[in-house]
Subunit: 476 residues, 2 copies
């Protein structure tokens, strides 16, 4: 890395404000000494910042050596020490994580105090490869696989001062040669092996093993991370733009999206909007469950009569008019328009015909020949309609609410019979809806849990000739 | 996997046309027998297709056993055999690749012949994980890391009939249990170990090793691939839409983009448009060089006087008016408007002042104090201007074209001196431009190769007081 290239990176990749001071984290190791030397030679107003973690007996000597280096260069030096081991115990963190937090807290507080334009750290290309692999091992998405960036705003440390990583494309071996050629005298930290066990196993075992498959694997992963970073950048732009259009309002623990707009979106955009919504309400969730996204999409394309599903643990999706709620406590904010009937009532279903339910819903029945119904129709995933084999039904068809001891054989479970109560627990139907939920029954058995699931014994098969079509229609 | 879930996948993920026949590739192994059984039980009009690769003595027996299976189910059976070993030699392919090609050619020709709606193959979740890891080992981008899809149009085989993979979320162990529970009797192919060496090493060595870091690594990678597939879907939509706006015209080996439109795009979109352009002209390029994209972006933001750069091997970027050419043979389609002068001429540069060059270009000079120039300006990456340390220059400043033996010390190469001819070869300046290219010289030495690079000895340093600003201005 020559100074010309380094300057280009500072300006173009790090977007560094060259007129303001720059706080540089210097441990005294080869990476940070190389960074310090390059920044100093570029003539930048550098503040050398060293955090003494007090983890090893020689740490005080190392702090002194970093201070001497700063003084030799005529640069400002700031030092802080802390009891990281104690902090780790108090806060229930690993030593490594507690050390990282204390260090960054110190660096950013120094940056604020000195009006600095950025905090610079010495992450390099090998660190990047290891970071990408750690994300891979976690099964992380694009935001993790893209790795670290030359410039990042980390709101947890400061909402304006960026963290910059000018060495991100320099390999460890290049840094070591740089140190040698420029007569820098780095401290070698041998405790790496103790405190960063996982990362070191990656470095000393996994990467060499991957190199036996592809000797250029590190360059390959670095290249990959750069291409993914570009994709991520574009994706974030698109999501940000559309999010602003989609979001109707938001509050504590919930947000409301434009249902019709989402419905009209392409699959890719719709799924990303759903992930964005879950991510905003569950910021601690590292990876959003793919199945949750798929369930949300089916819900939007064909909203079930229950008008709500659970997306991920205690986070619900609910619909009211054009308002799609993503909420922790749906009951508190949304009065559902369920297709209920009077508890304990029993009505004979007219076939063909129609029956009115509560909240403007109606249940419509129709008879037909199997030839009139396409296979797609039969398998259609809308929970609000069902096709039954007429020859398996017993007259009359009855609409009623639950009774103690009701059991049910849901379609697709191989004829296995469940307590209706258990079925509803699986389906997450809110308790207060259950007493009034309409059930289509035939010969004493439940044939269709309205708006939810057909029973196995009444399904259409290869021998079916006539079909009964049941459909729940919402109010218009 | 129950039939209900399987039907949902066929309809929603594979978007299968249920009324048309379906060609299923059946090797006789557990994966394809499981797929066949599920498709058959779903009542689909299946055609069982077996390709006998003739790679093992028992292959004929296996073909017979697949045929028996089809007959037992009352399904149509088609068979083809080929000499894969010979094909591999003739076409210079690996046995595995030749086998794959012969098999898919057969499956799709059968699909066309029978008016089938799709070709189904039995790739499962473990195959998916291995595929993702193989892409990772190559350092592939999003298109590779997202893995295989439930449904794909592969233009190389057919532009309309999709390949579908209904088992993509089923693990190998689930398939084996399914075979056992449904009394299927699969053939076990032990040559896997010979013909698919790389993939088998992945399966038996790399994945178990990754599991020692994360026992859930396979599930993690599967989840990751699904999230990436959603991102990829959205990204492709955005790129497609904007590509149509950006593309002015295209021809054999070149395409023309809307320069001002690209300039106005965000970085993420611009970089992806550049990658799309390179990808369309170089479809065989598996991974597009990140540095090429960065070079193209600098070109667009600040076009150099040469009006062209080489992007990747023999693929050029060139500018003419608002037309941004990406082309294999730029010279044939683009007459460049270079800032040339008469070969052999020599002119004293007026300071401050201006000199007219060919094609409407002019070279403007100005003097200033170092205090008037910000550090950003000095480091600015536009190749069309330069700042020189006035006190290092010798009067008069001369503008001339090249002379035999000209040497040059490009900025950023530590004062290393190059033949001007070699510098131009590195910079890929077309040969016919070189005889007439203007050079700013001081005391017999080249100080600035106009529109390209400053010489190290004349650069601005910490001790500079007065600066000379040189700027090439295009015609207006």
């Amino acid at each position: 890395m020559d100074l010309y290239q380094f300057n280009q990176i500072l300006l173009e990749k790090c977007a560094l404000d060259l007129e303001r001071p720059l706080v540089v984290g210097v441990s005294g190791g080869p990476d940070s000494l190389c960074l310090l030397d390059l920044l100093d030679k570029a003539g930048l107003p550098v503040i050398v910042a060293h955090y003494d973690h007090n983890l090893r007996p020689e740490s005080g000597v190392e702090a002194k050596s970093v201070e001497r280096e700063a003084v030799r260069r005529g640069l400002k030096f700031v030092l802080e020490q802390g009891n990281v081991r104690e902090a780790a115990q108090t806060e229930g963190l690993s030593i490594e994580e507690a050390a990282r937090q204390a260090r960054y807290r110190f660096l950013f507080s120094q940056a604020r105090a000195s009006g600095a334009g950025a905090v610079a750290v010495a992450h390099h290309a090998d660190d990047q490869v290891e970071t990408v692999l750690m994300h891979l091992l976690r099964g992380s998405g694009l935001s993790g696989l893209k790795g670290m960036t030359y410039r990042a705003i980390l709101p947890v440390w400061d909402s304006e001062i960026p963290l910059i990583r000018p060495l991100l494309s320099m390999w460890r071996t290049e840094i070591l040669s740089y140190c040698k050629n420029n007569r820098l005298d780095p401290v070698m930290d041998h405790t790496n092996l103790d405190t960063r066990y996982f990362r070191n196993r990656l470095r000393h075992e996994l990467i060499p093993s991957l190199e036996s498959y592809n000797p250029q694997i590190r360059e390959g992963i670095l290249r990959m991370s750069r291409a993914l970073a570009e994709d991520y950048e574009l994706l974030r732009e698109v999501i940000r733009q559309n999010w602003d259009r989609c979001l109707l309002r938001e509050g504590e623990g919930y947000l409301v999206l434009d249902f019709e707009l989402l419905r009209g979106y392409s699959g890719g955009l719709r799924k990303n909007m759903i992930r964005e919504a879950i991510g905003r309400l569950r910021p601690a969730l590292r990876d959003i469950d793919y199945e949750a996204v798929v369930r949300a999409e089916s819900f939007i394309l064909s909203p079930p009569a229950a008008r709500r599903i659970e997306l991920v643990g205690n986070l619900w999706l609910g619909l009211e008019g054009n308002s799609l709620f993503v909420a922790e406590n749906l009951d508190r904010i949304l009065e559902p328009d369920w297709p209920l009937m009077e508890a304990g009532h029993e009505i004979v279903l007219p076939v063909p015909g129609s029956i009115e339910l509560q909240q403007g819903w109606s249940l419509v029945t129709a008879l037909g020949s199997i030839e009139d119904v396409s296979r797609e129709k039969l398998l259609e995933s809308s929970p609000n309609e069902a096709w039954l084999d007429v020859d398996r039904l017993e007259d009359p068809l009855v609409l009623r609410t639950r009774r103690p001891g009701d059991r049910f054989q849901p379609l697709g479970m191989g004829g296995h019979s469940l307590k209706l109560a258990d079925f509803w627990i699986n389906e997450r139907l809110p308790r207060r809806a259950r007493e009034k939920w309409p059930l289509v029954c035939s010969g004493g058995r439940i044939a269709w849990v309205c708006g939810s699931r057909l029973a196995e014994p009444f399904r259409v098969t290869g021998t079916t000739r006539r079909v009964l079509h049941l459909k729940l229609l919402p109010s218009v």
